[in-house]
Symmetry: C3
């Protein structure tokens, strides 16, 4: 349970908010790289942390992320023409480069120097791991380091990246991801499992009350959830939370693809979830891609051309009550949609003054403690060290069956190390 | 005319409002019984008096009406699975019975007693007259009596029940029902009536200024509207208002079906109208059912699967101006829709500080006086006696042609008595 | 740039606002005459200057514009029946004539004099130039003069009138019209012009930085924008702004049709633009009508049956990015739609505290100065003289190529005089 004040503090990320300031110390994804597929392609609106921006890829292939409005009469630059190394407002032809400089102002006489006075905010960007990232923080600070995620280092063939709209506040959606007890319910099948069901599914169905261990990492913390497996073993699911807004999912067994998500607030009532799947050792196979794009057993969602999930808050996720009775716990199709539906249902901003947390919510408690502490520290001038330690993100998540005598420290040491060919 | 303060007082029914408290002293319909057709059927969202609840029918057939959110992390219980005698939240499997007790908490260790601490609000329910009713009042008070409506006592074959959404505040819609002068206009045909038109229609067309007499009853008051009929007679239309939210309509001649409506606020800008037709003496006939479902000459509305009228505020009730010119006063099809359209048009909440009431508005004035008085009395600790006098609802409404020498007292005594086989 | 206070002052026109008071000193169009095509036709809702009214044409052909609600119980008169010389509320039959008098009250006894006490506001109207105009000002003032626009004087065959919804505040849309520098960009073609392109188009494409001269007129001011034409000449575009809400467009060469627009706020976030094309000397030709209705090279918009543009804010004006790359500066089809899109993009109410005006914005600065001054003067009791000088509106706009030695005074004197057969 949080006080109303702390709940505000945790959830608000607009300009000038403490949590917004903390987010602005890190690189955040703002687009899939493919949304700006080539030089001089059409500009794209970017809503991020309560700001309305526009992104474009210039003639050199460089990505610009600038204020969304022309400084002249505040027409939206979304309507602009992406021309030779600059985005030109279609109202009076003012043209801005990726650094926000006004490089042409044809509505003024040639001798005018007005254009030197009307530059607009531009944010540094990087392409990294299939996404475009931006730094929205104070320009006088040195740039943070990019998070050295393993999935950003593997060849493109080894990963699949997507994004999806989530119609609620970012923080409750993160909490849903690091609360891995819910797999025994929200994502579970109804009735007897088929004889060929994976052992992991059997363990999760049988034990809905996993025992959690948390361990700090250089970028956040790692969460171990132990369920009873065979008589002498535990089935461990190991999840990473990495500040301020990443989580790596616990489902991958050795050799399997690993999944992760990064939450980026659009405003306080919605966020983008950047969703990625990677294999450290080999390309994603065609069969795996078919499952990913099939929208059932995947962290990726079936979305429309605006990356809005087809099954969403507005259509009750197309719940099928007969399927709920006979097949799946929710009657909602898709792992991703099951998560989205239950997180949305907590409200546009989840009211944490009314909750009753149990023993499986330890990771959620630690997440809030960590985020509130970091944001308070920043208010007092203490910059987050994680923003300067990209190497700290070189970790994995995953699942493991281990003897009951093995400690979580040992399991985690073995299963959370990323590959040796790292950054 | 009301002061702005009194208008607020009359119209607001959320938790903690005086009028909301008064409503909470009575049983109110919250669903058609058929919305929960069988044991363990899907749960249904219930919005009532500003509260967001969920209803379900358990394995024994008992109806539960409980808080709409799981106390754990406030996921909506609407998504829940209706299992063996309880509704199970699909997030972590917490299960609640019809009394709001948490009867299973599989995400906690078996020895945990946490579940004894997290019960949620549950409201008593009854099935009565084809509807599910709930008592949302203080649990420490004795339950009110159910209103002993005749239509709730007759065999199912003798009644037809429905509901429809009204897109405005409840009180102005009640006022529309007890203001029966409007039939001479709002529901009237244009031009000469056909020779075979019922006499009642002729009387109403000819006399738009009925003389009203009010008479208190044990549950509210009865309204007599007298129009000139033949030279020596009056055509009386007798309407019942029964506190806090029922009205029986005046159209039924002897032997004909009788209609009534009950208003239940969803919030301050919309309400459900529970609509019923009954015959004390015989089954509703196929021909009558066809008229009811035809959506023209009926108090019942043509609705979609969510009980939203097909003709509604958002599509201007599909007004047909040519029909208005040549056939009906409004050009809107349906008695129910004509009422809905004109009541909606008064605004989401009708501003009673700007009106000019006339001589036909005496029932409206008495309705407001009675409701304001009862709510003020309750504020001062005086409970409404009507809530403990279900027998007071054992009345009828109807129409009658009587000699001009007969007083309303005599007409009413004869025509408003319900059958002898009463409660 | 305006202060936040001045921006409020300029943009708000509801009842009781200073700018709303100024608007209420003038006749304003409220409908196309054809929206009330014949005596006793259906009434029409009119939203104007934050007021909700209803208009009807009575049996004599006289147009009434009265309060939108019946004084009895505030039902919307939009639902009313337009009967023998009056609009009858369908709730209880109260009937109002074009002067707002209650002329029938059949729900009251014949002897009642209640109807003399419940008249409603009625505004004077005039049919003028194909539109219905209303005066919403103080009834104790003498009526203003109608603006003696040339297009209102020509035969019907010589003009084409329409209207279209604009989804933003009125003032920024006026500013878009009197800022004629933008034609070199917003409405321009991409790449080399075809050899047969009009000279005017060549001049505008070549010179995006016209030099502006303003000159006061009896009804506002006239704006001359000079672009380099041939070596010894300027291409002048001459625009009229006429208080409080009219502009005549600068494109017409001698003998060509002239265009103009009049802005009428519905509320502070939307307005109607009344749009007109006229030829002083001859009928509009079939070819010209085809272009007007084709929705490409025209100030008129393609609208639906509610006069809402097909290409609008909600569908991003159906921008075609490929067309933007290869054909037109915006990729949006239609001169009217290009204006609408960029004006809407400034926000529902353009925030003038954040702009950076340049040398081409002199007319905008003067517009604001004039409007703020007039509204302030009115607050201090000084009525606007223009409202009593209809003859001051007897002017034209247009384009002209003139020797560089000719002053704007000379060009304007020649080109802005309306025909001699004036009022």
């Amino acid at each position: 349970m949080l006080s109303a004040n702390d709940n505000e503090f945790l959830t608000r990320t607009g300009p000038g908010t403490p949590m917004g300031d903390l987010f602005r110390r890190f690189w955040v994804p703002v687009l899939i790289a493919a949304e700006l597929p080539e030089p001089d392609c059409p500009p794209v609106r970017v809503g991020v942390l309560g700001e309305e921006l526009v992104a474009f890829r210039d003639t050199n292939g460089t990505v610009g992320l600038i204020e969304g409005r022309c400084p002249h009469r505040r027409a939206e630059l979304f309507w602009g023409r992406n021309e030779e190394c600059g985005l030109r407002c279609v109202y009076h032809g003012w043209k801005f480069d990726v650094n926000g400089n006004c490089v042409d102002m044809p509505s003024e006489p040639p001798e005018s120097q007005f254009r030197d006075k009307v530059g607009i905010a531009a944010y540094p960007t990087r392409e990294w791991g299939g996404y475009i990232w931006a730094y929205l923080g104070p320009p006088d600070l040195p740039l943070p380091e990019l998070p050295e995620f393993e999935w950003a280092h593997v060849p493109e063939s080894h990963r699949y990246v997507s994004k999806k709209l989530q119609q609620c506040n970012w923080a409750q959606s993160v909490e849903g991801a690091i609360d891995t007890a819910h797999f025994s319910f929200l994502h579970m099948l109804v009735g007897e499992l088929p004889p060929d069901a994976p052992a992991a599914l059997r363990y999760m169905k049988a034990d809905g009350s996993p025992k959690f261990t948390l361990q700090p990492t250089d970028a956040g913390f790692v969460i171990g959830g132990a369920r009873f497996a065979e008589e002498d073993s535990f089935y461990w699911r190991i999840t990473q939370f990495l500040v301020p807004n990443h989580s790596l999912a616990p489902g991958a067994e050795r050799g399997q693809n690993i999944n992760g998500q990064t939450w980026v607030p659009i405003d306080d009532h919605s966020c983008w979830i950047y969703t990625y799947t990677w294999n450290p050792d080999r390309p994603i196979t065609e069969e795996e891609l078919a499952i990913i794009k099939g929208g059932k057993a995947s962290i990726h969602s079936i979305v429309d051309e605006h990356y809005h999930p087809i099954r969403n808050r507005d259509n009750d996720y197309l719940i099928d009550r007969e399927a709920q009775r006979t097949a799946s716990f929710t009657g909602v199709q898709g792992i991703s949609e099951q998560d989205a539906c239950i997180q949305d249902s907590q409200g546009l901003i989840y009211d944490r003054t009314q909750e009753h947390l149990g023993t499986t919510d330890v990771a959620i408690i630690e997440f809030r403690r960590m985020m509130l502490r970091m944001a308070r520290n920043l208010l007092e001038g203490q910059e987050p060290a994680e923003a300067r330690n990209g190497r700290a993100y070189w970790v994995r998540s995953g699942a493991e069956v281990a003897p009951r005598t093995t400690s979580f420290e040992e399991v985690a040491a073995d299963r959370t190390a990323a590959g040796e060919a790292g950054p």
